[in-house]
């Protein structure tokens, strides 16, 4: 069990801090126009962050072990996603492969 002050201090400050990060540019900049180069870079925010979060999680599970099954499922998600341009099909196939095969093996 944790001390209640410890827990609530973390919850409240983490809540405020996270909101401040989310509000940062939306709150500060408002209607001001961003430079062309910055706007161009911002087109790539999703592909600049999400693959970097994902790939280490694909290579290692939460307990640190290496699982070929994860890599297989991840490649299936990417290939099906590029080919069909459908989020639902690629995530459905990927999770089916992962949880289906891990139940079988």
């Amino acid at each position: 069990m944790f001390d209640a002050n410890y827990v609530w201090t973390i919850i409240i400050l983490l809540g405020i801090g996270t909101w401040l990060i989310r509000f940062s540019f939306l709150g500060l900049i408002g209607e001001r126009e961003l430079p062309v180069y910055v706007k161009r870079m911002l087109n790539y925010t999703a592909v600049a962050v999400l693959p970097g979060i994902s790939v280490p999680m694909v290579l290692h599970s939460a307990n640190g072990s290496f699982e070929p099954l994860r890599i297989t499922a991840a490649i299936a998600i990417l290939v099906i996603g590029v080919a069909t341009q459908s989020l639902m099909k690629s995530i459905g196939a990927g999770l089916l492969i992962y949880f289906g095969l891990s139940a079988l093996l």
């Binding site: 983490l14 970097g52 994860r70 996603g81 992962y98």
Partner: protein, 240 residues
């Protein structure tokens, strides 16, 4: 009335497109509820995390550090580092929502997690002509239903926690979502270059403290994406 109508139309489309993510957020939120409860948090504290923080990866990061009796400042710094990518999301939405009144921007910030941001970004490319109100509706249409689901599954995870095994590999759902989100974008050369840079950079810089390797790699990837666009895509378009 016209404004409210286009907001509602956008909201409906966002809600529909956000729906598939319940398959991912559902188990993830439940997992958080289970982990937090098993770590010794009471129900109100577990719900406090999901309602006030509403960022799964950071919530799980915080719990794991609390289990190691880390000082408050370390827990906060590490968990906030996980969330720093949302600062990039915030900047990315400025061209679309920057002109809204302050209270709307302050409210919208609460729902700025991965799925509303990513789906709105994809939608900007697919439907560039939406009005601002319609786009704002779309964004909240993704975020609000998923946030309500997040509270419910957290509650379920916290109360039914003991029935769910912690080792069935549900953490794979997180990268699965992210990869499915970005896959349709990889047909474009600058997007592909940025994605490869993000992966290579994060793996190379994985020893930097506080998750900052991910952030440094992201900044490099943004520059690579923009440069590839400027050098290879724009000249071709001008040549046409």
């Amino acid at each position: 009335m016209a404004t409210l109508g286009s907001f509602a139309a956008g909201f409906g489309q966002g809600a529909i497109q956000g729906l598939p993510f319940s398959l991912v957020l559902g188990p993830f939120g439940m997992l958080f509820g289970v982990i937090a409860t098993e770590s010794g948090l009471d129900l109100v504290q577990v719900m406090g995390f999901s309602v006030l923080v509403i960022a799964g990866a950071a919530q799980i990061t915080a719990i794991s550090l609390m289990n190691e009796q880390a000082p408050v400042l370390v827990v906060l710094a590490t968990s906030l580092a996980v969330n720093l990518r949302m600062g990039i999301y915030s900047a990315a939405l400025v061209p679309h929502f920057g002109g809204l009144p302050l209270w709307k921007r302050a409210t919208a910030a609460y729902w700025l997690f991965d799925q509303p941001f990513a789906l709105t970004s994809v939608d900007v490319a697919k439907n560039p002509k939406r009005t601002r109100d319609e786009r704002f509706g779309f964004y909240l249409g993704v975020g609000i239903p998923l946030s309500i689901l997040w509270y419910i599954v957290t509650y379920l995870g916290a109360t039914l926690g003991d029935l769910i095994p912690g080792d069935i590999g549900i953490d794979f759902a997180i990268p699965a979502t992210f990869l499915a989100l970005i896959a349709p974008l990889l047909k474009s050369l600058p997007h592909l270059a940025a994605a490869i840079t993000s992966v290579a950079g994060t793996l190379t810089l994985s020893n930097l403290p506080f998750n900052s390797g991910l952030l440094v790699a992201a900044v490099i990837a943004l520059i690579v994406g923009a440069e590839v666009e400027r050098r290879f895509v724009e000249p071709r378009q001008r040549g046409r």
